[in-house]
Structures are given as structure tokens and as C-alpha cells.
């Protein structure tokens, strides 16, 4: 009877333990894990530069995932975790480049391309008017050429 009671008391703990997720040495609740994955998904793995830290199998990526998870557990806000990484590895670590003096051309490109497109269109229209109708002499010459 006593054992049964103990088991009953421990039941919620078991349930909780099952839903907890352990990755890279840190145990998190599902919402915490989701947040950690979202943060890691925004960071570039520096060893294999086209993968995110979440996807990468590199050892450094695993260490950084551990750091992210530890900070998530401590309740550090996303922005601060990203800043931690940028401070160490530079803005290159962010998969989505932030808007900076260095990157404004990158972000302005669609607008610039559109402007160039409009300019080309306008230029084409202005000079692309239909030719003037032929005068009499020209019409006669055309007739002559066609007859040959």
C-alpha cells in the first residue's frame, strides 16, 4: 500500500521527466527547447558555414547549442543570446544579416533594381515611338522596291 502511494506521488514527476528534453547536456521544458531551437536556427555554424548551429554536427556547434540552452534555462532573452554570439564571432554568425551601414546596399538592391527597370522602360518608351508615316516620294520608292 505504501509503495503504491509513493508511486502515485511520483507519477507527476515521471510525466514531467518524460516531457523534458535533454540536448547537448542541458534539460529543458518543451517551450524552452522550442525557444532554444529558434535562437540556434538564426545562427550560422562557423565550421560548416552554410548550416545553422541547430543543424550542424560540428563539435563547436554542439558547444554553442549547450550555451544557448543554458542561457534559455536562465531566462536570458533571445536578443541577449544573439548579442553574446555576435560579440564573439561578429555579425557573420547571424544567418539573416542585420541592417547596418555595411549591408544597406544589400537591402536597397530590390528598390534599386526596380528603379533601374523603370528607367529602362521609360527610356525605351520615349524613344520607341512609331515611325512617321511615309511621304509621297518614300511611298513611291517602297512600291518600286517591292516590285523588283
Amino acid at each position: 500500500m505504501r509503495r503504491l502511494l509513493l508511486l502515485l506521488c511520483l507519477l507527476p514527476a515521471f510525466a514531467l521527466a518524460q516531457t523534458m528534453i535533454t540536448r547537448d547536456g542541458v534539460t529543458l521544458t518543451p517551450p524552452q527547447e522550442k525557444r532554444a531551437e529558434a535562437v540556434g536556427g538564426q545562427l550560422r555554424c562557423l565550421v560548416c558555414q552554410n548550416e545553422s548551429i541547430e543543424e550542424s554536427n560540428a563539435k563547436l556547434a554542439a558547444q554553442l547549442r549547450g550555451i544557448i540552452r543554458t542561457q534559455v534555462k536562465q531566462g536570458v532573452p533571445d536578443k541577449q543570446i544573439l548579442a553574446y554570439m555576435v560579440q564573439r564571432y561578429g555579425i557573420f554568425v547571424l544567418l539573416k544579416p542585420p541592417f547596418l551601414p555595411l549591408t544597406w546596399l544589400l537591402y536597397a538592391m530590390p528598390v534599386l533594381a526596380l528603379a533601374v527597370g523603370f528607367a529602362a522602360f521609360w527610356f525605351g518608351r520615349r524613344h520607341g515611338n512609331a515611325p512617321k508615316p511615309l511621304d509621297e516620294a518614300e511611298a513611291a520608292r517602297l512600291e518600286e522596291l517591292l516590285r523588283e
Binding site: 565550421v47 558547444q63 564573439r88 557573420f92 524613344h127
Partner: protein
């Protein structure tokens, strides 16, 4: 179609294609000459002092802390390496030459153990005046090290002026390290 328009229609794409081709050619030539590495990252540590750390010595050598490199008598190198790293063995003879030429090189062994390190130093020579061990890799993360070897140039005021990721080569020493040494000593 006016002659000007026809010329533009032909000329503008031609000029763009030639300019683009020239750009790619320069890029590839610089990559081949080791003057440009598309994977290289600028270190955020440039112009700053290394973050606080204190690492124990390893393989019978003295370790060091950030305070020990805050004001070196002459510009120096901090070289991150590991016994398990192939390019580290590759650059070892060059580091040996630089050390023999009077340059201070302090080493930090990245995620390594004393036994393998001793074997590595016995085989490849020991250019290091001091040798610290970052067994956990935490200090490496704080420095922004993303692989070994990495070499940091530290000037007399303890500020990082240059970081090179990858094995040092005689070309890099000639093109970058020597001018830095001249400038900061």
C-alpha cells in the same frame, strides 16, 4: 530603332558582362595567390583586448592569463592549436623559425591532453614561451576561435591587431605579419 539605341542595346550588356567577368577573374586570381579567402571571417577582437581568462599550464609549461599579455615588451603572437590538428603540425616549423628569430609566441592548446601534447611538441618542436590549456574550449569561444590553428597578433598595449585562421604560411608572414611587426614594434 535609332543608331544610339542600337549601340546601347548591344553595348550596355557587353560592358556589364565584361566587368562581371573581370571581377570574377580578379577574385579567383586573388584566391589562388592566397590573398583572399572567402571563408575567412573578420575577428570582432581586432582593436580590442582579449576577454578575461586564466588558463593553467600544460606539458610542464607555464600557463597564462589575459593580464599577462596586457602589456608585452614587444608585439607577440598567441597561437591556438591542438595536437590532433593536422594544419597545426604543418605550420609548426614556421612557428619554430619565427620563435628562433626572436618573436614571442605563446600557445593555447585547444581541447587537448598533456600526453598527446607532449608527443606533438616532441615531434614538431616547441616554439612556445608559455603554453596554456583550454581543455573545455570555453576561452576559445570567448575569443571567437572557430577552429585550430588560429593566430592572434598582440601589440605592446595588449590590443589584438590581426587574426589569422588556418596554418600560417611563409607568404602570409611576408605579406602581413612582417609589416605588422614593423608597424607595431
Amino acid at each position: 530603332m535609332s543608331p544610339l539605341r542600337r549601340r546601347l542595346l548591344f553595348g550596355v550588356p557587353l560592358v556589364l558582362a565584361v566587368a562581371g567577368g573581370e571581377g570574377f577573374y580578379v577574385l579567383l586570381r586573388r584566391m589562388r595567390n592566397n590573398e583572399y579567402d572567402p571563408h575567412a571571417l573578420p575577428s570582432p577582437l581586432i582593436g580590442k583586448r582579449p576577454p578575461a581568462f586564466s588558463l593553467p599550464g600544460i606539458a610542464g609549461m607555464r600557463g597564462f592569463a589575459n593580464t599577462d599579455i596586457a602589456a608585452p615588451p614587444r608585439p607577440m603572437l598567441v597561437n591556438w592549436f591542438a595536437s590532433w590538428c593536422m594544419p597545426c603540425a604543418e605550420e609548426a616549423p614556421l612557428l619554430g623559425q619565427l620563435a628562433a628569430g626572436g618573436l614571442s609566441i605563446w600557445g593555447i592548446a585547444y581541447e587537448d591532453d598533456a600526453k598527446s601534447l607532449q608527443a606533438f611538441l616532441a615531434q614538431n618542436g616547441n616554439p612556445y614561451q608559455r603554453l596554456a590549456s583550454d581543455a573545455s574550449g570555453t576561452t576559445a569561444i570567448n575569443w571567437g576561435v572557430y577552429g585550430v590553428p588560429e593566430t592572434y597578433f598582440i601589440d605592446k598595449s595588449g590590443i589584438v591587431r590581426w587574426r589569422y585562421a588556418g596554418a600560417l604560411t611563409p607568404e602570409i608572414v611576408k605579406s602581413t605579419l612582417n609589416p605588422l611587426l614593423e608597424r607595431y614594434s
